[in-house]
Amino acid sequence: MSVKVLTANRLTDGEAVWLGANGEWLDHIDGALVARHAEAAAALEEAGKAAIKSNLVIDVNVIDVEERGEHLYPVRLRERIRQLGPTVRLDLGKQAEKPAANAA
């Protein structure tokens, strides 16, 4: 079943980030605050609007993810590529920092 998380790009360098349970913006999706029902998803939307005003991030979006064991797996390929980096340059992006599943 898909649940939702809040994602954005960091203002200073454009890096993809996800809103963590502690209210911080995280560099990796695991640890993101997960919304499991409509009210929680609405709260994420509100958090997104507030985040834009805070000037820490831009291009804020609620996205669908699946919970796979301890990991969060974005439903759309676009989001999986944002999570890892270009599939044609495995030496770049977040995938270059830590071992991770193949985006495709």
Binding site: T12, D59, L77, V88, L92
Partner: protein, 556 residues
């Protein structure tokens, strides 16, 4: 090459200072993203999937070695050691931080470069034939006129908020290498019967979600009327182009909905009022700009021909590269070298900082300090002596820049696609890589002959798929990448939009589907002289559809 005058320097420096202040205010929270976004876009700064992207303008695709070295330096210092040459003769950096942008623009300004008008609803960077000033078949060099258009359009107050972006391309040869008929305005520089230089004017071409071939609205426009006539077109568009619907806002839609005859009438009426205005180009001004583009002094080097003959004989790979990547120069002792940025299995258009430095060194020593960027995402050395081809080839070989595939099936145009681009709906680079690997065998490529394969990762068509002899469009369907094929497109002087074959193919199926089409072409061509495009034009889609989908495909 054109050199900035005092006005140009002051103009670009002022813009860098302005943007520096805007970035500081944004980072300090004094500007919201809604306020800042249009400002950053006017300076070429986009937001992509993983980071910001900076698009650097390379006017009419012309670079000096010094400029290329600066691009390499920026890639190394502020990015991840590479850049991506685009289908609009520009360069994109995929990873720069916002805080570094003013420094990057400062560095660019040092070598008379900038990122202005690489985004937004303005007149974009003017493109031109990448063989300009060198090709044997050229009537006149299109770059002086592209430069005049650049100066006129830069920050033009009347045309900075058009209904939509606006692209102008100029070619100076009968053979159209600049794809002018898929631009908002296409200018074909030619001579009339009296031997005077002028332009055939095309309007309303474009790709994207509604591809259209431009309509010729004037067969011969004298050079002195270049700006008056262009202004007349812009005014008609600015006034009547749709602003209510982004997808119907390009001039191609206006031309289509108004009708060519009526639109031409409107332009000519507007022009009558402008024809003798201050915009009429004095010959002295044209000559002043033209003087920057005078052909370089090329010493006679007849010894090259015998050296070339023996070098060819001794090395088959070198001979293949000369045949494929060297085209005739105006001076018979010279050639125009295409440096392929399409190594087998590589990323089309990407070049590392080291490769950029190497090309700069080679150009300085062997090509009169000149480099061009082609819209086909390759680099060009416009003035290489035949006598120097062997050494240039050997130098290019040292960093994987000597792939002998210009114009062949592995010389694929590909947009960045979903690997980088926020607008993309599917990946395009991996498809290009797999097709390149499938057709890697040089003998097989040579047998197939000229075949332009172009891939876009979304309907915006940055990969020019509509004018690919074989075009591939990646879309997202039910959460999966799906690739639609079109056939018979062409961006040259006989411009056509490709025909969609039918249902699309999955990522797993697409390379086999392309091979099926190519194999069918090899079966049906009259002989090796009949190119894929010629065969398609003779036979139509039927044999290819039948190969792809079976006989049922043509029953309807």
């Amino acid at each position: 090459m054109y050199r900035y005058d005092e006005f140009d320097h002051a103009f670009v420096s002022a813009r860098v200072e302005q943007f520096k202040d805007q970035v500081e205010r944004r980072l300090a929270g004094e500007l919201t993203e809604d306020q800042f976004r249009p400002l950053r876009l006017m300076n070429g700064v986009y937001l992509q999937l993983h980071a910001y992207m900076l698009r650097v303008a390379i006017p009419y695709g012309t670079l000096s070695s010094r400029q290329m070295r600066k691009l390499a330096h920026i890639a190394r210092t502020y990015d991840r050691g590479y850049g991506h040459f685009t289908t609009r003769q520009n360069l994109q950096y995929n990873w720069p931080a916002l805080k570094d942008m003013p420094k990057v623009l400062d560095e660019l300004a040092e070598v008379e470069m900038h990122a202005l008008q690489t985004s937004g609803n303005c007149i974009r960077n003017v493109t031109a034939d990448h063989f300009a000033g060198a090709a044997a078949d050229e009537v006149a060099d299109p770059r002086p006129y592209a430069e005049i258009l650049r100066q006129w359009s830069s920050m033009h107050p009347e045309f900075s908020y058009l209904p939509r972006k606006f692209k102008i391309a100029v070619t100076g040869a009968e053979r159209d290498r600049a794809a002018i008929q898929v631009h908002d305005i296409g200018l074909h520089l030619k001579k009339n019967e009296a031997g005077e230089i002028g332009f055939a004017v095309y309007v309303g071409g474009g790709q994207g979600r509604t591809p259209m071939v431009a309509k010729k609205i004037r067969d011969f426009l004298p050079v002195e009327d270049l700006l008056t006539y262009t202004t007349a077109i812009m005014r008609v568009y600015n006034l009547n182009g749709r602003r209510d619907n982004k997808y119907k806002a390009r001039i191609k839609i206006l031309v289509h909905e108004t009708g060519t005859e009526e639109l031409t009438r409107q332009v000519e009426t507007e022009w009558l009022a402008l024809k003798n205005s201050d915009l009429k180009l004095p010959q002295t001004d044209v000559d002043a700009i033209d003087s920057y583009f005078r052909p370089p002094h090329l010493p006679q080097r007849p010894e090259g021909w015998s050296a070339l003959a023996s070098a060819r004989k001794a090395d088959h790979a070198f001979a293949a590269w000369v045949d494929q990547n060297v085209t005739p120069h105006k001076n018979p002792d010279y050639g125009v070298v295409t440096i392929s940025l399409k190594p087998i299995g590589g990323i089309p258009g990407d070049a590392t900082d080291a490769q950029m430095d190497l090309v700069a060194d080679i150009a300085e020593q062997f090509s009169q300090d000149e480099i061009r960027v082609s819209h086909e995402q390759n680099l060009i050395l416009p003035h290489v002596a035949i006598a120097d081809l062997r050494i240039v080839y050997d130098l290019l070989l040292t960093d994987s820049l000597a792939t002998a595939n210009a114009g062949l099936i592995t010389d694929i145009i590909s947009c960045p696609g979903l690997d980088y681009c926020a607008l993309a709906t599917a990946r395009s680079i991996p498809v290009a890589q797999r097709i390149s690997e499938r057709f890697a065998d040089p003998a097989r490529q040579a047998d197939i002959g000229e075949l332009k394969l172009k891939i876009s990762g979304c309907i915006n068509a940055c990969g020019h798929h509509h004018v690919g002899h074989i075009g591939i469009l990646g879309v997202e369907k039910k959460g999966e990448e799906l690739y639609q094929i079109s056939l018979g497109g062409s961006g040259d002087e006989v411009c056509t939009i490709g025909d969609i074959t039918g249902r699309g193919f999955s990522s797993e199926e697409i390379v086999d589907a392309i091979e099926t089409i190519v194999d069918r072409y090899l079966e049906v061509r009259t002989d090796k002289e009949e190119t894929f495009l010629a065969a398609y034009r003779r036979l139509g889609a039927a044999p290819f559809k039948e190969a792809l989908y079976g006989e049922a495909a043509n029953a309807a």
